[in-house]
Amino acid sequence: MKNFISKVVTTMLIATMGVSLAGCSSSEPTTTSGADVSAEAASQETIKLEFWYSWTDQIQENNINLSNMFNETIGKEKGIEIVPVYQGSYDETHQKLQASYIAGQAPALSVMEIASTKLFAENGIIKSLDDYIDRDDLDVDDFYTGLTENCIVDGEYYGLPYLRSTPILYLNKTLLEQAGLDPVGPATWDEMAQYCEVIYNELGIVGLTNYSYDWVFEAFFFQEGTSVLNADETATNINTAEGKKIFSYFQDLIQNGYAKMYAGVDSSKVAVDVMNQNTAMWFSSTGDLTKYITLADESGFDITASYIPAGVTYGVPTGGCNIVMTTGLTPAEEEAAWEFMKWLTDTEQTVYASIYTGYVTTRQSAVETDEIQALFEELPEAKIALDQLEQYGHGRPMHSRYAEVKKEFVNAMDAVWVNNADVDTTLAETEAKVNAILAN
């Protein structure tokens, strides 16, 4: 209303100014809306495509570097220019992708958090890649199965694995040795409980710190041989014997002082405890490895990593993002976008991205390369992460309302582990809420 009225008044007054300002800025070289792109492509015979990405830091540098490499080689040869554009977190990128799609200004390419693939595919915003994969005989079986599960919607590929990760168990080696424990870490949840007890008795600190972390929560269910949602994603498995076991296990550790759990909103407190050596074990993404090594170095302790302990089996979800192509491109733009996607996810580039960012390599063929072998030698934890992925990696749930479901899981963890609520009632309530969400 404010803008509606004020605009009626002000648009007339400053129309001239607005036009001149728009004129100024449209001459900026980086302005490449969808319309501009095709116009420019026609005139220069170079197809210019926007590639939206999330996150800054090494991830940003990696995206810019790879885009430049492509532009200077294949891009130059085939007349394609990729313009990498930063958009914020995954959520922000998704929101902007939706908004820009509605406005007809969507980029040709974007990264997409893996659990959102189905939502965007079902809404027709991203394109099925099957025709291109078949035509070019792309070796999709070279990608780890745990990674491609979240690329596929109704049997068709809607994305290719790009910057991917899994959660792993991090260990403060120095503290474990002080407590007289094997720094290899606990292999099972029973051993984990013993580790925590010894650490508490020997060092007077908690053995394990975690927060209401939905991603690791999915791992706990895989380790019990089940999953947070049933196979066709119509109901949750939270209120089952396995679910109760998981909730009670951690509740017992917490009540004995052996473990500490923070609420979902307090996730950053885990790093504080790690840094101040108030905990010996914690879960985090493989992507955090180099950051934790830096922190540990600055503070004078050693860290290592291991698989997340096994219940009846090992098991972890995968995470991170795929690269996707939007719908509504011209055939020439589609062809160019596919060229970039194919190149970006090829062995050589996944090796580059993995070494640069700390994400896992997405292709099995990458492990054979000298660069990755050298990385394993220098950073044995990177191999642990990749082995865990290869043998025990799973996809994440992809229900289009999974974002809401995750919030209910976090609420349940907060209730039981932080506020000591009753396991049975909390799980029954959460089950009812989640099933209602899934049914809609």
């Binding site: 209303m1 803008n3 004020s6 300002l21 100024c24 900026e28 999330s54 406005a103």
Partner: protein
């Protein structure tokens, strides 16, 4: 008794100052820490080896100067637009009695009660249809007028004695001249305060720039600062974020210091009424 009163007053004053200064001190302090110092417990209240490289890292991670330029241009553009729209509107509402003036003024006030989150989608679609996404115009137009400023300035104009205006009219001054040469100088403290408030809110605005930009062409500093915290990981680089914040607030602190006297006057003036 008097001494006791004085001591109490001093203590209260010191406490008040601390409440306002501590967050700033903490921001400056964190900007000079290493990443592990930022999450050290108990926290460090001083640093012996200030990390100046945190600032250079801000420059490496975001196009800071470009975003600074955008912030300046957009804030200045909004100030200019509001000057053009607000002053005549406030003058008209204060001095003219015309049919429907009360209704129009009411409508203007109603616009203050509608949150921008409610209208961002239509505005986004409108600007995108006009092809204005990622242009300065898209950042300036949604804030080109302010009902709050019209209201404040109207109140001030109404306090100015009618005799002054009549005297001017007798001397055959035009309405424009009366508005600019007589009303505005008297209302200067209010105008300065409004200008400063507008400047601060447009300088700090996060929502509109976030919604209305898809690339760095017209992105502003607050978006740049939030880019600093967008790391996919468990360890937040608070030292870099705070270094960025220091660079962000310096212009505001300078603007505030320059306008301080006027602001105090404006509030005293309103208070005396």
């Amino acid at each position: 008794m008097n001494i006791l009163k004085k001591i109490c007053k001093t203590i209260v004053n010191i406490l008040l100052v601390l409440i306002f200064v501590t967050p700033f001190y903490w921001m400056f302090l964190t900007a000079f820490k290493t990443i592990s110092q930022t999450i050290q417990m108990p926290p460090l209240f001083y640093v012996l080896d200030p990390q100046w490289s945190n600032f250079s890292q801000v420059f490496e991670k975001i196009p800071l100067l470009h975003m600074f330029k955008n912030s300046v241009l957009i804030s200045a553009g909004i100030l200019l637009c509001q000057a053009i729209t607000v002053i005549p509107a406030a003058y008209a509402f204060a001095r003219y009695k015309f049919a429907g003036s009360k209704v129009l003024f009411g409508l203007t006030l109603i616009t203050m009660m509608i949150p921008s989150q409610l209208i961002f989608l239509p505005v986004y679609l409108l600007l995108s249809k006009l092809g204005l996404i990622n242009t300065y115009a898209s950042m300036i137009l949604p804030s080109a007028c302010s009902a709050f400023a019209i209201f404040m300035l109207r109140q001030t104009f109404m306090q100015i004695p009618e005799e002054l205006v009549e005297a001017a009219r007798l001397d055959k001054a035009s309405e424009l001249k009366i508005m600019l040469k007589i009303m505005l100088p008297i209302a200067r403290p209010t105008v300065t305060t409004l200008a400063l408030l507008t400047f601060i809110s447009s300088w700090n605005d996060y929502f509109w720039p976030l919604v209305l930009t898809t690339n760095d062409t017209v992105r502003t500093l607050p978006l740049g600062i939030s880019m600093l915290k967008a790391v996919d990981g468990a360890v937040m680089p608070y030292h870099i974020i705070m270094a960025g914040n220091v660079l962000l607030v310096i212009p505001i602190i300078i603007a505030f210091i320059c306008a301080q006297k006027q602001i105090i006057q404006a509030f005293t003036y309103v208070g005396e009424k």
